[in-house]
Structure formats: structure tokens, C-alpha cells
């Protein structure tokens, strides 16, 4: 029976939140579960966790980069059995530690896939057809004055290399195929069910393509996967689209090349140190920039919130998780 003291929270349907999350999600979760809001406590986190550790079997973590669920947090929660996140990406969770401790992780599964894929395509088309650039010029009242604009570049016939042919990468490929792009890819494993040409690494992929679209997960193998060598291979007209994580690309090198005309352009939804974005990009016409919003549609978030609830309900009813991460 709950006793209202600091050791309260014996409610079996207790979910720990370390940081505030989407208001709408918190409302939905609060209606169904008992939420422990760590930031509302005057106690430092370590003490707070110690005080509530026994009761905590479930943790929800929002992917906005402010908390990394590391070994220290995990060892303060000996009864933790499940982590649910609203992200697809798992770079904010020490997955190896979770595996060691038998903590299951449920992520966003496939509910955000199409949103990210279409955004990547939208960024590429914007860069190639100079849409944001043209929109800026019109809003500055320049159409009647400058007359003809700089021509864009045709989408069909472009050689597009997908870095990471997972769910998102394959949805990007499917869309660009319809525009007549020539698709190839690099992935950890070759995927025989797709007829696209496979390259064994990002460097050889870049050398054969006009565009690289970065869709892979961020882990120790993929940090700076788009590095100086890859950018050399892509060449001066090359275009990079990144909807993965900022750290997949050597951002300093990319910015330097953009400034010196050594790369054609870029469409970037993610950055190294969000929300900080290199200021040099702000005045460039050949880049399209977005504030990590490739996932943020009303439709997908309605599905996502439902998925989060479904995962937690399944857990508390001893049923299999809906979107358990099985392969890291």
C-alpha cells in the first residue's frame, strides 16, 4: 500500500522519467501509469535514484541528448527491467550494459521511418532544385529585380549512395528510385533482397556517387563515417544529406569544404552539438538546414505515443514488448 513518503512508489505501474518530455506524452502516460519525475525532486539524481530504486522497473527516456543512460545510472536501478525510448536511435543508452544486466530496450520501431525518409528526400530535392534559396529570394522581394535565378540540377539520373540500408535507408531508396536516381549503398551487411549495387565501405560508395544520404545508426563503428577520405571520393560537386546523427559526419571538415567550394552542397537535419550550428552555414545558399525535425510529424507522433503506451502496458502485463530492440 502506498505510504506517501519518500519511499512511496510501490505502485507496480511506476515509470521513471529523468527529464521532462513532450507534454502530450506526459499527460497520456500520467493517466495510465504512476510517473516518478526525477527533476521535481530537490535531491541530487544519485540520491533520488537510491531512494526509489526498489520500485523502479521501467524507465522512459526522451532522446534530446541531455541524459545518457550509462553504467552508473543502471547500477543505481538494480530492479530496472525495461527502458522505453521515443527514438529509433540508441546512442543515448549504453546497450552493452543493458544486455549485461538483462534490461530490455523498446524504441520507436518503424513508426518514424517514413517521416525521416521523406524528409531526407525533401532535403535533397531542396538542395538540387534550390527551393529554400529561391523562396528566400522571393520573400526578400528580389524576383522582379534579379529576374532569372541560378539553375538547379535535375534529380533523375543522379547517382545516390545510401549509407546504411536499414528501414530508413530502404524507404529513401524506394522513393528516389521513382525519380530515376541510380541507387547504390553501403551497409554493415549486404542485402540480397535489394537489387541496388553494394559497396564494401563508405569511401568506395562515395567515389561512385553524386550524392550521399546518411541514414545509419551512430555507434563506435560509425563515428565520423563520413570523413575527409569519403568527402574526397565524393568530389567537388558532391552533395551530403544527413538525417542520422551529427557525429556521423566530420562536421568541421564539411564546413571547411563548403566554405572553400570543395563540395557541392548539403542538407543537414542533425549536427554535432545541437542546438549549436556552425554559424558559417547560416549565410550559405547551397545548404539546407533543419533543427533535427525529420521525425516530428503530428501523424507519426500520435503513433509513437501510442507505441510507447503499448510497450509499457505490455511490460506491466507480462506480455511481449511491441518494439523490443533485438539487434544492436
Amino acid at each position: 500500500m502506498a505510504d506517501g513518503s519518500a519511499k512511496q512508489g510501490r505502485n507496480p505501474r511506476t515509470v521513471l522519467l529523468l527529464r521532462p518530455t513532450f507534454e502530450a506524452l506526459e499527460d497520456v502516460l500520467a493517466k495510465r501509469f504512476h510517473l516518478l519525475r526525477a527533476w521535481e525532486s530537490p535531491l541530487p539524481l544519485a540520491e533520488f535514484l537510491a531512494a526509489h530504486a526498489t520500485a523502479i522497473r521501467a524507465l522512459f527516456i526522451r532522446g534530446n541528448g541531455s541524459v545518457f543512460v550509462d553504467a552508473e545510472i543502471l547500477s543505481s536501478l538494480p530492479n530496472l527491467e525495461i527502458i522505453v525510448t521515443n527514438c529509433v536511435g540508441l546512442d543515448l543508452i549504453d546497450m552493452a550494459e543493458c544486455a549485461k544486466r538483462g534490461v530490455a530496450v523498446a524504441n520507436a520501431g518503424n513508426v518514424l521511418t517514413e517521416d525521416v525518409a521523406e524528409y531526407a528526400v525533401g532535403l535533397l530535392m531542396d538542395v538540387l532544385r534550390r527551393i529554400s534559396s529561391a523562396d528566400r529570394c522571393i520573400r526578400a522581394g528580389l524576383w522582379p529585380i534579379t529576374g532569372l535565378f541560378r539553375l538547379g540540377s535535375k534529380i533523375g539520373g543522379k547517382r545516390v549512395g545510401i549509407v546504411g540500408l536499414g528501414h530508413i535507408g530502404s524507404e529513401v531508396a524506394k522513393r528516389l528510385d521513382a525519380f530515376g536516381c541510380i541507387i547504390s549503398y553501403y551497409s554493415r551487411k549486404q542485402k540480397p533482397s535489394f537489387s541496388y549495387t553494394f559497396y564494401p565501405n563508405a569511401r568506395t560508395l562515395a567515389a561512385q556517387n553524386d550524392v550521399l544520404i546518411v541514414c545509419c545508426a551512430l555507434n563506435s563503428d560509425t563515428y565520423h563515417i563520413i570523413d575527409k577520405d569519403v568527402m574526397d571520393g565524393l568530389g567537388k560537386q558532391g552533395i551530403i544529406i544527413n538525417v542520422g546523427r551529427g557525429a556521423l559526419v566530420d562536421e568541421k571538415e564539411l564546413v571547411r569544404r563548403l566554405m572553400q567550394g570543395e563540395i557541392g552542397g548539403a542538407g543537414l537535419d542533425v549536427f554535432d552539438n545541437e542546438p549549436a550550428v556552425p554559424r558559417e552555414l547560416f549565410t550559405m545558399d547551397k545548404v539546407v538546414l533543419s533543427p533535427h525535425c525529420a521525425v516530428y510529424t503530428q501523424e507519426s507522433f500520435a503513433d509513437l505515443f501510442q507505441l510507447i503506451v503499448d510497450n509499457l502496458e505490455a511490460f506491466f502485463s507480462n506480455r511481449p514488448l511491441v518494439s523490443k530492440v533485438t539487434e544492436v
Binding site: E114, D115, A117, E118, Y119, V121, G122, L123, M125, D126, L128, R129, R130, I131, S132, A134, D135, R136, C137, I138, R139, G141, W143, P144, G147, L148, F149, L151, G152, S153, K154, I155, G156, G157, K174, R175, D177, A178, F179, G180, E274, P275, A276, V277, F282, V288, L289, S290, P291, C293, Y296, T297, Q298, E299, S300, F301
Partner: protein, 316 residues
């Protein structure tokens, strides 16, 4: 072709211009001050047998009358609404345009505008460049394009190309045109209001003729509604622009992606403060690759005419 006098109505393409200059006797109309044009044409009309224009500046009755030796109008565009076809017909003047070579570009732009409008790509870019991400936090939730219902007005070459691309996004396709098309599985709506009611994104992709002036009027806009998005890659006059603007400002229409306007290059300033519109300056075919292909088609039509061979892409 050296003796062929060609009147070029406006600067179109540096490559085309230099080829015409090199291979024909080129007259550049825009370099002649307006006041002297009548005299200029009178003086040179005996040589001028061909006219090259586009969808902005074509060949109206006045210019055709001023050129008694005119044999052919060669357009650097697919639209021929600025050519007086009746007059050409009565004079036996041939007319060619540039279909097909720009189909892909225009269809690509329709999809690009759809995504940019629904996902607010340009607006998010402005947000980021204004440093608002640091001060105001996450950008707004937008509307997903994939899986939506796309309605196309005019299922010709361009409309069909748009449909094919939208299908790759899992979109459901429906259309309105004068007659139902055989050989498609897309849902046909003989009534444009019903089409507008059904779809999430309405794309204008039909030619501009008398009947399609303001085909998108208040009724259609209201049917499309506050969650609907209008994409215009046809002509400004397809849409009642005043109604469109008031619908956008009042929130009765969800958004619009516009490549064309009623009084180009004038774009109503009231649109500049809206985040749910994307504005491009008639760039449907504006890629290096396509403009080159269009220029080559103009040159090949001229060559064919001079050699008495069948024209490649005749309108008339």
C-alpha cells in the same frame, strides 16, 4: 541555316543564344528600345522567318502581323498560351514547343513543393538560421506527406509523372480531367469539388485554356480545406489568387506550394509572412540539364524546318 533570320524575343539561355548567333542571323528583340521596335521590325522583317519565344513572351497577333515572312514559331517551353494559334493557322505558320524534355523536372518540383510545404522545410531552415533553435527550442510538428491522398488536376504527361512519384511515397492517387483515362488504376473524379474534398494535396497539372482559367476557385479551395495543401506548377491563372490568399490568411486552406503566380514576377507580399507556403519563381524546368535539352530541341526543330524535314515536336 546562315541565312535564316531568327527573332529571339527575350534572353532565354546563353547556350541557345550563342548557337543561334553562330548558325543563323540572330535578332535580339529585347536589346531594341521599346520605342524603336516597330521600326526595327519593319526594317528587318524581310529577313525574319523564324521566331523563338517561350511561355512568357510568345507570338501575339501584333508581332505576327509585323513579320510577313514568318514561317515558324519555335518555343522554348511546353506552354504555348502566349502564341496566337488561330493567327498562325490562318497564315500557315508552324509552331513547335518542348514537351517531354521537361516533364520530369516539373513533376519533381511538384513533389518537392508538396514535401517542402507539408514538412515546412523552408520555414524550418529560416527558423534555424535565425538562431531560434537555441532560444525557442524544438520546431513545430508538421504534417506527413507519405501515405496521403494526392489529387491531380490533369493526368497528362506531367500529371502521370507526378502520380508515379507520389505512389513511391505510398500516396493514394486520384485525378480530375475532361475525360476519364483508360489504362490507369487511379480514381477518377468527374467533378473537381469532389476531388478537392477527398484529397489532402491537390496538384494543378493541366494546360491553361479558356476552360481551366481559375479552375481552382473559392469552392475548390473551401473543399480542399484547412488541412489541405494546394500545389500549383501549372499557370498562375489556373488559381483565383485573391481567393487563395484570403483562404491562406484566414486559415481556411492548410498550405500552398506555388511555382507560378497570376502576375509574375509579382508575388503578393502578404504571402511572405506565412510559414505554410513555399514560393518558387517559375522554375519548373529550371535545371541545367533540362534547359540544355530544351535548347537542343529548339535548334533541332529549326534545322528540321530549314531542311524541310518533319518537325520534331509540332503544336501546329
Amino acid at each position: 541555316m546562315e541565312s535564316l533570320g531568327v527573332l529571339l524575343m527575350l534572353p532565354l539561355n546563353p547556350y541557345l543564344e550563342s548557337e543561334l548567333d553562330r548558325r543563323c542571323k540572330l535578332f535580339r528583340l529585347w536589346q531594341i528600345p521599346k520605342a524603336s521596335r516597330k521600326d526595327f521590325l519593319y526594317a528587318n522583317s524581310p529577313s525574319i522567318r523564324a521566331l523563338v519565344g517561350n511561355s512568357a513572351v510568345g507570338a501575339d497577333a501584333d508581332i505576327i502581323d509585323a513579320l510577313p515572312q514568318l514561317e515558324i514559331v519555335v518555343l522554348y517551353s511546353v506552354g504555348f498560351d502566349k502564341v496566337d494559334l488561330a493567327k498562325c493557322r490562318s497564315r500557315g505558320i508552324r509552331v513547335t514547343n518542348t514537351p517531354d524534355v521537361l516533364t520530369d523536372d516539373v513533376a519533381d518540383l511538384a513533389i518537392a513543393l508538396s514535401i517542402a510545404t507539408m514538412r515546412k522545410i523552408c520555414s524550418a531552415d529560416r527558423y534555424l538560421r535565425s538562431a531560434a533553435w537555441k532560444t525557442k527550442g524544438q520546431y513545430v510538428f508538421t504534417s506527413k506527406f507519405s501515405g496521403k491522398t494526392v489529387g491531380i488536376i490533369g493526368l497528362g504527361r506531367i500529371g502521370s509523372a507526378i502520380a508515379k512519384r507520389a505512389e513511391a511515397f505510398g500516396c493514394f492517387i486520384c485525378y480530375h480531367s475532361r475525360t476519364e483515362k483508360a489504362n490507369t488504376t487511379y480514381k477518377y473524379y468527374p467533378d473537381i469539388i469532389s476531388l478537392a474534398k477527398e484529397c489532402d494535396v491537390l496538384v494543378v497539372a493541366c494546360p491553361l485554356i479558356a476552360e481551366t482559367q481559375h479552375i481552382v476557385d473559392r469552392k475548390v479551395i473551401d473543399a480542399l480545406g484547412s488541412n489541405g495543401v494546394l500545389i500549383n506548377i501549372g499557370r498562375g491563372s489556373h488559381v483565383d489568387e485573391a481567393e487563395l490568399i484570403s483562404a491562406l490568411v484566414e486559415g481556411r486552406l492548410g498550405g500552398a506550394g506555388l511555382d507560378v503566380f497570376e502576375y509574375e514576377p509579382h508575388v503578393p507580399g502578404i504571402l511572405f509572412s506565412l510559414d505554410n507556403v513555399v514560393l518558387t519563381p517559375h522554375v519548373g524546368s529550371a535545371t541545367v540539364e533540362t534547359r540544355r535539352a530544351m535548347a537542343d530541341l529548339v535548334l533541332r526543330n529549326l534545322e528540321a524546318h530549314v531542311m524541310n524535314n518533319p518537325l520534331l515536336t509540332p503544336v501546329l
